[in-house]
């Protein structure tokens, strides 16, 4: 898919245990077909003070603040991961300018990244993430510059916090994106009645988990109608049925993040097997046969 050989259509979403080769290995042992690292930038970031996460009944709200050691430190982990993992290693990159995205991307690819996922959708850090991904012109510049700087596949992870995600998707593809990940987290908040204040130290964070699945599904469906590149579905997938729904909506692969908290690393194996069982039961020969199947029109 998009130039990568995936062992199966499940991938680890960015932000989950993605700091070190060792933890990524536990995820691969759990059956992930590819892994995406924590988002890394040019300079180190400490991230926000705690609370950085809120557990709700239907998902998590996080405002970590992109804590990462910066690409110059992180290349060590990339190299180590490339040596030990036997699935594609995709490095998630963010920047505060098109130049930064390109610089970090180049260093990540030099260290061995099989592909890059551009984080243009983090909803809680100023001047990067979704502030770039919400503006099709700026986004296009970033994608163009990154594509011009490396030879590896470049995925763009889209924000749902926009009026028309299909429009942003088209801009990203026109600028050269090889695949799109839909979606990043949804801007959200939690307020504690006892303390009478927002819980997150950053006040606003990104919602993930089961609560966002219907939104993510809708985004994948809408994007599929407008673009020809592969779409990677992400948002609230916890079991094989969720994954199949995303494939039917138009995704060629899925990412799983929040569900790892509830189900552990083996969630990848479970989902992968479930997809296989569904395909067999429905007499489909491959995942490709069901991608976008829900779009076919029915006689009235």
């Amino acid at each position: 898919m998009a130039g990568l050989r995936l062992a199966n259509p499940t991938m680890l979403a960015s932000g989950i245990l993605g700091y070190s080769a060792e933890t990524l290995e536990t995820i691969v042992d759990g059956g992930a077909g590819a892994v995406i690292t924590k988002s890394v930038g040019l300079k180190p970031r400490n991230g926000y003070a705690n609370p950085t996460i809120v557990q709700t009944s239907c998902g998590l709200i996080n405002a970590m603040g992109l804590p990462n050691p910066g690409i110059d430190e992180f290349v060590k982990e990339i190299r180590e991961a490339k040596n030990t993992l036997d699935v594609p290693l995709i490095v998630s990159v963010y920047g505060f300018s098109a130049e930064e995205y390109a610089t970090v991307t180049k260093k990540a690819v030099n260290a061995g990244a099989d592909a890059i996922e551009l984080n243009v959708s983090c909803p809680h850090v100023k001047e990067t993430g979704s502030e770039i991904g919400q503006n099709p012109k700026i986004l296009a510049k970033v994608v163009e510059k990154v594509k011009a700087s490396v030879d590896k596949p470049v995925f763009v992870k889209l924000s749902p916090n926009v009026t028309s995600i299909a429009e942003i998707a088209e801009a990203a593809v026109k600028a050269g994106a090889d695949a799109l990940t839909a979606i990043n987290t949804v801007r959200a908040m939690a307020i504690d009645a006892e303390a009478a204040m927002p819980v997150l130290s950053n006040k606003v964070g990104g919602l993930s988990g089961p609560a966002v699945k219907p939104i993510a599904l809708r985004c994948v469906y809408e994007i599929y109608e407008k673009v020809k590149v592969p779409i990677i579905g992400c948002g609230g997938i916890t079991n094989w049925r969720d994954a199949v729904e995303f494939l039917l909506a138009g995704a060629s692969a899925v990412q799983i993040g929040t569900a790892v908290a509830v189900k552990g690393a083996n969630v990848f194996k479970a989902i992968s097997r479930g997809i296989d069982a569904y395909l067999e039961k429905k007499a489909f020969k491959s995942v490709e046969e069901i991608v976008g199947l829900s779009h076919r029109s029915y006689p009235a």
């Binding site: 245990l17 700091y19 924590k38 970031r45 991230g47 705690n50 996460i53 804590p67």
Partner: protein, 229 residues
């Protein structure tokens, strides 16, 4: 995880869990969050997420506990949990000064007819030495069924090394910077283990896996590996 609204959210070990559903924690004033806790008055509100992580395995027989500083708190809790079991307790506790030697009376009581060895770095109480100093003699003369330890990591590393040398099982309660505290973000990892979810208590088998990091290094706020002070 304990939330001080408007300040921070920090991981703390439980000191006691009571029948009425209340819990207590022991907090040393080391920074902004702990200072804020020290400033709180009875009746004020803090937030809680938990309980999280695992606990010491309850064993029977000859038990050695080695506690340093605030690490003594979860060990005191452990003695309460072991009360119903057939155990002979030996406690070695250490702190910088007499003032920081916590819960001495409770520990003496928990020890019963077992041995309690207290040490302070400045000699203001008990033997003037580190908590690990009496261990060489202790482990040479007695075979313990398990050694539990909690306190400064370099102290726990020494305890683990000695336990390994004498072929005795050990369990250590580690701490790391925590954010999500539910095993997702990776902030608290030691090797492949997440201290918040796979720990904070680790068995000797697990500690062997992470000998390169245990007592040696930790990850900073930005995820970079830095040496333990």
């Amino acid at each position: 995880m304990l939330w001080i609204p408007g300040v921070d959210e920090i991981p703390l070990s439980i000191l006691s869990a009571n029948e009425d559903g209340t819990i207590s924690v022991a907090v040393k004033k080391v920074g902004e969050a702990t200072q804020a806790l020290h400033n709180k008055k009875v009746g004020e509100t803090v937030g809680i997420r938990g309980p999280l992580g695992n606990s010491f395995t309850l064993k029977e027989g000859k038990i050695l506990m080695v506690g340093g500083g605030t690490g003594i708190a979860p060990l005191l809790f452990l003695t309460k949990k072991l009360a119903s079991k057939t155990v002979k307790l030996t406690l070695v506790i250490g702190a910088k000064t007499r003032e920081e030697l916590l819960f001495l009376d409770d520990l003496k009581e928990a020890c019963g007819r077992g041995e309690l060895i207290a040490t302070t770095e400045d000699g203001s109480y008990g033997i003037k030495c580190l908590a690990t100093a009496p261990l060489k003699r202790l482990l040479a003369k007695e075979k313990f069924d398990i050694i539990y330890t909690c306190g400064p990591e370099q102290m726990m590393r020494k305890v683990f090394d000695l336990a390994e040398k004498h072929g005795m099982p050990s369990e250590a309660s580690l701490e790391r910077l925590m954010r999500c505290a539910i095993g997702l973000c990776g902030s608290c990892v030691v090797g492949k283990y997440r201290v918040c979810r796979d720990g904070p208590v680790f068995t000797a088998n697990q500690l062997r896996d992470v000998k390169g990091e245990f007592g040696v290094s930790k990850r900073d706020f930005d995820g970079k590996r830095i040496p333990l002070e």
